[in-house]
Symmetry: C2
Amino acid sequence: MSEQKQSLMNLLETGATYYLSHISLDCVVFGFHENQLKVLLLKMKDRDKWGLPGGFVRKEESVELAANRVLKERTGLDNIFLQQFHVFSDPDRSNNKDLIESARKTGIEVTEDNWFAQRFISIGFYALVEFSQVKPTADAISDDCTWWDLQEIKSLMLDHNLILDKALETLRLHLNYQPIGYTLLPDKFTMPELQKLYETILGKKLDRRNFQRKITGYGILKRWEERRSGVAHKAPYFYSFDTEKYKQALQEGLDGGW
Amino acid sequence: MSEQKQSLMNLLETGATYYLSHISLDCVVFGFHENQLKVLLLKMKDRDKWGLPGGFVRKEESVELAANRVLKERTGLDNIFLQQFHVFSDPDRSNNKDLIESARKTGIEVTEDNWFAQRFISIGFYALVEFSQVKPTADAISDDCTWWDLQEIKSLMLDHNLILDKALETLRLHLNYQPIGYTLLPDKFTMPELQKLYETILGKKLDRRNFQRKITGYGILKRWEERRSGVAHKAPYFYSFDTEKYKQALQEGLDGGW
DNA sequence: CTGTCATTGCGTTGTTATAACATAATGCAA
DNA sequence: TTGCATTATGTTATAACAACGCAATGACAG
């Protein structure tokens, strides 16, 4: 028996003992690569359906801890920037039809009375991670785990499209009073890269010069003498976030809006 | 046996059959009266502890529906403006010590294995209601249900202070891109009353004239010819919300910040 | 009836933030 | 060397905002 199949059977048998019933969580993991906003998705076993990485809450942990644990398994990363944003609880959102179907494809029948087949209320989290640091790893009910361009994502399993939309909406709102980027970009980045990140999240173009003025006005950036070379055209400066002031801004909040 | 005691025993016996396990909800109900922001609280039976109105989620309903149901029982109101804002899930936040203690005071022993004694994850909602319309009604584990001035609220049961603080924080943020007042004020109100509401929520003074310009600029108010009379000093105009444009503003969002 | 006074309604001004546009500098490529 | 796309920095017009002035009002005291 494959390791994955073993792990799934294990979940089905012991789920009820280790996890809280009725409660699940789903994570919208945002990354940024090649000037594109990416989302980490899992492909359901032997099916064409994709879905968000998710999991369950152990009997002794908080939902935040659970989300961290789940994402550690999917990305290899610790201490991910995580934010819960909504609870999805439509009674018809899931009897886990999709998950049960995927289990069946693995050769495991899930009965109606199984812990896995119950109604789940899902707590939505969004995560902002550094693309290059992530090692996408599938879970017990999935074949594949990869990044998707936000624009290319079509129909997802269950209500995951709804969850994704709500996550993006929330992220856009948070942009108005929170600095964003520290967890999404590499240590050193250029102004055009940071701007592109904002433009991608907001889904609209911004003026280069006004963007620069505004973002530097927050005082959370420090500029290096060094410039990016190798690419064509005038070399842009490298920037990094001033972690001290960044964290301060996270707590105290910014003012402006976009 | 009292009706309340009967209802509590009923809950303890049938809770597991009708409600989802591990999931509860708590509501921070805001009202506005005599230029004060009020919060609806319940007094735990025969104890000095007060707490937020809360409840559980029936097996076939969404958490939003559950919150509406609970608040209908506590306030007599339907169609309350409700907003979920956070999930509280610290594993130590509650083994329902306070509720069990209150049940004991009623003369009911709750055993460790009872449905009531399990760990609960609570979904926080805030509600904005019209003070005068509310008929505060205690529940099975409480003695009393009344409005409290926000400033006078001291130590609450469990983590309810945390929940209250988070609700207020969220409300303040929402003020930046949502019109507020339609559900908190009577049909007709004056500009100073509306301003006082904003000032109370924000916890700071605003300039009369700038406030008027900004709020009328949203185009969600209509002014009556009529003025408030009887009170001393110059009579202020009455205003009402233009429900059409108000709802539109709720959906599309406002821009400014306070 | 009359003057007082706190409050309301409407208006003005100076400052700051924002949007839109201009110009010079840079570094690779032809 | 020149062309060109891109970056860095600067300027200007407009809109938003904060701070303040002043006349009108209406209950109240005398």
